[in-house]
Every structure is written in C-alpha cells, then in structure tokens.
C-alpha cells in the first residue's frame, strides 16, 4: 500500500502549448523541493518532465501530466504520468533509440527521459494514445 505524506503533494497539469512545458517542470521542481528531494534528483526529474511534455506537444498536440510525491517502501518517490490521446507510437523499441524521430527533432525525448529517471515505462496504442509512467527516487 502506498502511504501518502501528511500533505498531499500532487498536481494535474494540462499540456497544450509550449509554455505548459515550462509550467510542468516548474511545478515538478516545487513538489520535489517540498518532498525533500536532493537538488540533483529534482533537476533530473524536471529535465525528464520537460522531455515528455514536449513529446506530448509535438506528437499529440495536447495531453496532461500528473505528478505526485508518494512514500513507497519507506522511500519517497516522485511519480510522473504523462498521457495523451495522440496517434500513439507504432514502433516503441525504435522510439526509445537515441536519434530516432518521426517529428524531425533530435529523437532524444523518450530515451533522455528514461536515462534521467529511476523507473520508466511506456504504453502506447496506435490511434489511441500514449502513457508514460516514470519515477524518481528521493535517495
């Protein structure tokens, strides 16, 4: 069972335009700070959230990001859910490779986010959308 912190540290953020990328990572930073995360873990999570938020804008146009600090097995974790109802990712294995992009970018979004987080999981259905779940541990 997930034990919550005394103060609920969670947020649900719409991602519709570029500015929302900045707002999502700013909010994540604030939650991580209040959750007592070290600076390096906070920065890594904020950077990963920036990547997945941009992926939503570029590939799906809109979506949302849910953030929550939870206590699991005595450890604080920042849990990130990035969801969209976009076109989905046809070839997930390729999408996770460095330098693979369908949108003309650097193709580093998903692989970057995975490197920066402690846990990373993607579920995608073509024509339905994509959900990225990732976690950063406080220690």
């Amino acid at each position: 069972m997930t034990g919550h912190l005394s103060e609920p540290l969670r947020a649900c953020l719409p991602v519709r335009e570029e500015l929302d990328i900045v707002l999502a990572r700013t909010c994540a930073r604030e939650l991580a700070r209040r959750g007592g995360f070290p600076d390096a873990a906070t920065e890594a999570a904020a950077t990963a959230i920036s990547e997945v938020a941009r992926n939503i804008i570029v590939h799906a146009g809109m979506g949302e990001i849910l953030l929550e600090v939870v206590k699991e097995r005595g450890r604080r974790e920042l849990v990130v859910l990035a969801c969209d109802r976009g076109p989905g990712i046809p070839d997930l294995d390729r999408a996770m490779l460095d330098g693979y992009s369908t949108a003309g970018g650097l193709g580093l979004g998903l692989s970057s986010a995975r490197r920066l987080m402690d846990e990373f999981h993607v579920v995608s259905r073509v024509g339905k959308g994509t959900v990225v779940t990732m976690k950063k541990w406080a220690a």
Partner: protein, 117 residues
Amino acid sequence: MSVPVLRLGDVLIASIQAALTDRDLLQLRDDLSDQVGRFRARGVIVDVTALDVLDSSAIRTVRDLAHTTRLRGARTVVVGIQPEVAFAMVQLGLTLEGVATALDLDEGLALLRQEDA
C-alpha cells in the same frame, strides 16, 4: 519572454533571467546572430545561471546558437551552468561539445580576452 542583451565593448552579454520556452531560446539564437553583425561583436556570452533546465531541445538550441555566431565571426562562451544542471546533462549524454564554457561571467570575459590576445 525576451532575453536582454547588453553590450560591453565588442562583447554581447545575454543574461537569461528565468525559465524560457523553446521559442524564447530560438528567438535568442536569432537575435544574437543578428546583433553580432549590427554591433560588430567579436564575442558573445550566454549566461544560463537562471535557466531552470537544459534539456535535449535547449542544449541543441544553445549549441546551434554558438555555431551560428561562430559563423558570423564571434566566439560564444556559455557561462553559469549550475552543478545539478551539469549533472543532468551528463546523465542525458549531451554535453555541449564544441562549445566553450566558463564558470561565470567574469571567467567568460577572461576567456574571450585570452583568445583575443
């Protein structure tokens, strides 16, 4: 949000004051390329101390900025990368290769003067 650019002799100093969107950073790249010509600048310093995140898109834009101004005849030095930002960049595997960096504004100016001499 636009980034203020100051002139100090033949050096342009762009001091980023807050978190920027992708578009703001692209605008800075274009503005600096333009101003290098207008003010006949020889050096450019981009101070990223207040930038919250250097993700893959921001790193690409900063790298492009440095290469663009180089082609326009000015050297760019990126200063003020914070320790935790540097650590995240290393984890990302993106390290601004080919771009000069310095600890802060003073060190950046010293580096440009050194190269001028």
